[in-house]
Every structure is written in structure tokens, then in C-alpha cells.
């Protein structure tokens, strides 16, 4: 377990900024308790200071996980956001999309969101913008990246993809063994 280097922080922050924008400051500079990002076995954990101090006394091979896993660094140095970060991302998300009940299941099985399943979407969402996918009853289901801007979606046919799938809560079951 170690703090992130500057390059790693930069990669992580660019990824997070794509989803929550300037709200990232609220994650770093928290009012209630100091939180920090820690890297352990290529995974980035968002952990409170007290837990981090406790965890630092555990030997590296024995430490399985701590705090909230935000994602992992690939071998090539890219950062992949995991579904476990959804709690924080949904809380601060800048752009959101709500999908109809008949679209929930396909999305939770790892498919992209097609226009037919689109319930609502935040106004003026740009192209390739990270957003959080909600069910119509405001339950966060995962997150994705827009294929087109909101304005462009109007002219498209119902089967075309609106949101590219990035992560969904179904991964808790599907990737249980590799997720944390």
C-alpha cells in the first residue's frame, strides 16, 4: 500500500473528472473525515485516514482490500474504473441517464444502452462524456460514455447505441473473483 505518484494521480483524476467534473474536489477535500487514495496491488482504494493507518500495519501479501476500490491500473498504465466506485460517482455525477425498466436487464448483463431504452438524459450532454446510468426509480445501475451528444440523439433510430457500457452493478456477480 502506498500513495499514488503524480503521474498515477493525474491518470486517476482525468478519469474521474470525466464522470464527476469539478466535484472531484469534494472527494479529495472532505469535510467529515480526511480521505486519501492508496495504491495496493495495482488497485486504487479510496480510504479514510483512520482505516489507512490501521491497514498499514497489515503485511502487503495479507492485505486483500481496504476502503473502497475505485479501479485498477492496467499494465500499460491506463486506469479502469470499477463498479465499486459507483456510490461516490453516482453521488457527484454531472451527467446522468435514466433507462426504462425494459432496458435495465440488458444493461445489467453488460450491453450498451440503445435509444429504445433511453428514458431521460441530462440536457446538453456532449459526445464521449462519462455519465452515470440510473433506473427510472433513481437507482444507480452503472456508468458509461455517451456515443453522441444529446442533440444528435433525436435523429437516430431506436436500435442505435446511445451510451457505451463501462461498468454495471451486474459485475458484482459476474466478476466477483477479480473485482476487488
Amino acid at each position: 500500500m502506498r500513495p499514488l505518484t503524480e503521474d498515477e494521480s493525474k491518470t486517476l483524476f482525468t478519469k474521474l473528472t470525466n464522470y464527476i467534473g469539478k466535484n472531484l474536489i469534494h472527494l479529495i477535500d472532505r469535510k467529515d473525515e480526511p480521505y486519501c487514495f492508496r495504491l495496493h496491488k495495482d488497485r486504487v482504494y479510496y480510504v479514510s485516514e483512520s482505516s489507512m493507518r490501521l491497514g498499514s500495519s497489515i503485511a502487503r501479501p495479507n492485505l486483500v482490500s481496504l476502503g473502497t476500490c475505485f479501479g485498477k491500473f492496467s499494465k500499460s498504465g491506463k486506469f479502469k474504473l470499477h463498479i465499486s466506485s459507483l456510490d461516490y460517482i453516482a453521488q457527484y455525477a454531472k451527467y446522468k441517464v435514466w433507462i426504462k425498466p425494459n432496458g435495465e436487464m440488458p444493461f445489467l448483463y453488460g450491453n450498451h444502452v440503445v435509444k429504445a431504452h433511453l428514458g431521460r438524459i441530462t440536457e446538453d450532454t456532449p459526445e464521449h462524456q462519462g455519465l452515470v446510468v440510473f433506473s427510472m426509480s433513481d437507482v444507480p445501475l452503472g456508468f458509461g460514455v455517451t456515443a453522441r451528444s444529446t442533440v444528435d440523439t433525436r435523429k437516430m433510430d431506436p436500435t442505435s447505441i446511445i451510451v457505451f457500457h463501462q461498468a454495471d452493478v451486474g459485475e458484482y456477480l459476474r466478476d466477483e473473483d477479480t473485482l476487488f
Binding site: T5, L24, I28
Partner: protein, 318 residues
């Protein structure tokens, strides 16, 4: 007529110019300083401090002034000036003694061999001219061969043998050698610091060679694993990664993160400002894509200037 009264009043008015003390005062006229080594008289000190101090000061000043008037004088526009002797009191140095210069390579050698230093005169006796000439510099003896109007040429010399040029080159080489040795001495005096290694061309070259050697060693098919090891060959050590300590206060980390964020923001702004995106009403990139049916601006330009039919077919197929 009794003048004793008058004399007594006069004496009281002008106290005696002599100072009577058990131990005579130390006067250093050079520094205009008087030191009174006598012990303090306790009675007068206790009874009237002010008077005691005043009388002490008077005695001191009196003895200083009387010794000043014994000095030789020099007349000036402002009246006679006393000439102060060099001071007697030894004052301690304000600064530490300068460190001795590190010996040059020659000085080390000479000390080891017991060679005494000989001072050479700046002038040298010229037998032919029967006068003293400069050893170097203007009309120096070291430039004699170059400057004389006729020079002997050795028997077996080449056709284009120029004795003046040869002499000049030899002299220049001596100067260059001396300069190089001087630089070496300076570098040695500096000690083996990194800054010297960076500036010294020899050290730089050494570094380059080590670098290319180490890259050559891992440039085989097995990345150097199964190569024959030379005797005394060392293992290649890479650069160790260094990370921040885990236990440092989270506050520091937070501040660093916030600084990084603000830096990223300003960077993003800068990069966005760099390519001018028109007036912002029209998305130019998108307009080009739309007009050219997704083929780009170059294809659009070619088409508008009567492009080939081949392109159009390609577009249709798409």
C-alpha cells in the same frame, strides 16, 4: 607677600596633570585605549558611585592625553596632528584563518621528491644581445625563433618546412597543456562533486560509455541473460523507483492533489485555447464531416474542384 593661598586655589582649579596610581595604567596609544588594572576601591565605589566613575575616567583620559602630547607631531591645515604608533594590543581575528589551498599535482610531486621551489625571474639574460629580455610576453624569449628574421633549417627538413610555424605550434601546445593541467588542478581541488562530473568532458564521456555499454549488454536475444560474463563484470543496476511514505500526514497529500487538480485545469484551458475553434456557433469539425459525408476536408476540396469518379464510387459503396 604670601602667595600660598593663590597657589592653593590655582592648584585646586587645575588638578595636577600627573596621575598617581598604585599600578600604572596601560596606555595603547595606537588604539587610543587605556586599561586600568588597579582593583576597584570598594569604599569610594559604595559611597558615591558617580564620583568614583568620574574620577576613574578622568585619570584614564588624563594619562591618554599626556601620552598623546609626548608623540611626534606633524603640522597640517587643521593644526598639529599627532602621529600614532602601531597598536600594542593584539586583537583577535574577526574571521577564521583562510583554508590552505589544496596542492596542485606538481606541488604534491615536488613535496614527495623533496624538490625545492625555485623562483624564476621575469627577465632573462640574452647572451647575443647582451641585455635583459622578457622571459615571455612582449618580445619574449620564448618567441625568439618565431620573430627573428632568419632561422636555421635542419638538413633533412621537408621542402615546405616552416621553422616559425613549428616553433609557434610548439609554444601554443605548451600553453594548452598548461591550461589543461590547471583545469585539472581546479577540478581536483573542487573534489569529486556531481557538478564537476557534469561539466568535465572526460567524466561526461565516461558516463556515455557506461550507458552505451550497459545498453549493449542487454541488447542480445536473451537480453543479456545467457551471455558470457567477463571477469570482474558487475551486475547492471537500474534506477530504483521511489514513492512517498505511506505514513505521512494526509493533509500533505490532499494539498498536493488539489494543486495537481488546479494545474490540470489550467493545462486543459491552455490546450483548449490553442486551437481556435471559430466563433463557437458552428462546430467546424462537424460541419466538414457533414458536408463531405464523413470523408474529411481534403476529399471535399478535391470534389469541389472536379474530382475523380473513382472517389464518388467509393463514397456510394459506403
Amino acid at each position: 607677600m604670601d602667595v600660598s593661598n593663590i597657589l592653593a586655589s590655582h592648584a585646586a582649579k587645575y588638578q595636577s596633570v600627573t596621575v598617581e596610581k598604585e599600578t600604572s595604567l596601560d596606555v595603547d596609544v595606537g588604539y587610543l585605549t587605556v586599561v586600568d588594572p588597579n582593583p576597584i576601591d570598594e569604599d569610594s565605589y559604595k559611597s558615591n558611585l558617580e564620583e568614583h566613575l568620574q574620577s576613574l575616567a578622568r585619570d584614564g583620559i588624563q594619562s591618554l592625553l599626556s601620552s598623546l602630547f609626548t608623540l611626534p607631531t606633524k603640522s597640517s591645515d587643521d593644526g598639529p596632528l599627532a602621529q600614532l604608533p602601531p597598536p600594542k594590543i593584539q586583537l583577535p581575528r574577526a574571521k577564521p584563518l583562510p583554508k590552505p589551498k589544496p596542492p596542485t599535482k606538481w606541488e604534491q610531486f615536488a613535496a614527495a621528491k623533496g624538490i625545492q621551489k625555485k623562483r624564476k625571474d621575469r627577465k632573462e639574460w640574452d647572451e647575443e644581445r647582451q641585455e635583459w629580455v622578457n622571459r615571455w610576453g612582449k618580445d619574449g624569449k620564448n618567441k625568439q625563433t618565431e620573430e627573428q628574421w632568419i632561422t636555421e633549417v635542419p638538413l633533412n627538413a621537408d621542402v615546405d618546412y616552416d621553422p616559425r610555424k613549428v616553433a609557434r605550434e610548439e609554444r601554443k601546445a605548451r600553453v594548452a597543456k598548461n591550461e589543461k593541467q590547471r583545469q585539472g588542478n581546479l577540478a581536483r581541488a573542487q573534489g569529486p562533486s556531481s557538478s564537476v562530473a557534469d561539466t568535465n568532458p572526460r567524466e561526461q564521456r565516461k558516463k556515455e560509455i557506461t550507458k552505451s555499454l550497459s545498453s549493449a549488454r542487454i541488447s542480445t536475444a536473451s537480453m543479456g541473460r545467457f551471455d558470457k560474463k567477463l571477469e570482474g563484470e558487475k551486475k547492471i543496476r537500474g534506477v530504483k523507483r521511489k514513492f512517498d511514505a505511506n505514513e505521512q500526514p494526509v493533509e500533505h497529500e490532499k494539498n498536493a492533489s488539489l494543486a495537481l487538480l488546479s494545474k490540470m485545469e489550467s493545462d486543459a484551458k491552455k490546450t483548449r485555447a490553442a486551437p481556435p475553434s471559430g466563433d463557437g456557433v458552428v462546430n467546424v469539425r462537424k460541419a466538414v464531416r457533414f458536408a463531405s459525408k464523413g470523408q474529411g476536408g481534403i476529399a471535399l476540396g478535391r470534389e469541389s474542384s472536379g474530382g475523380s469518379t473513382k472517389r464518388k464510387q467509393g463514397a456510394k459503396r459506403r
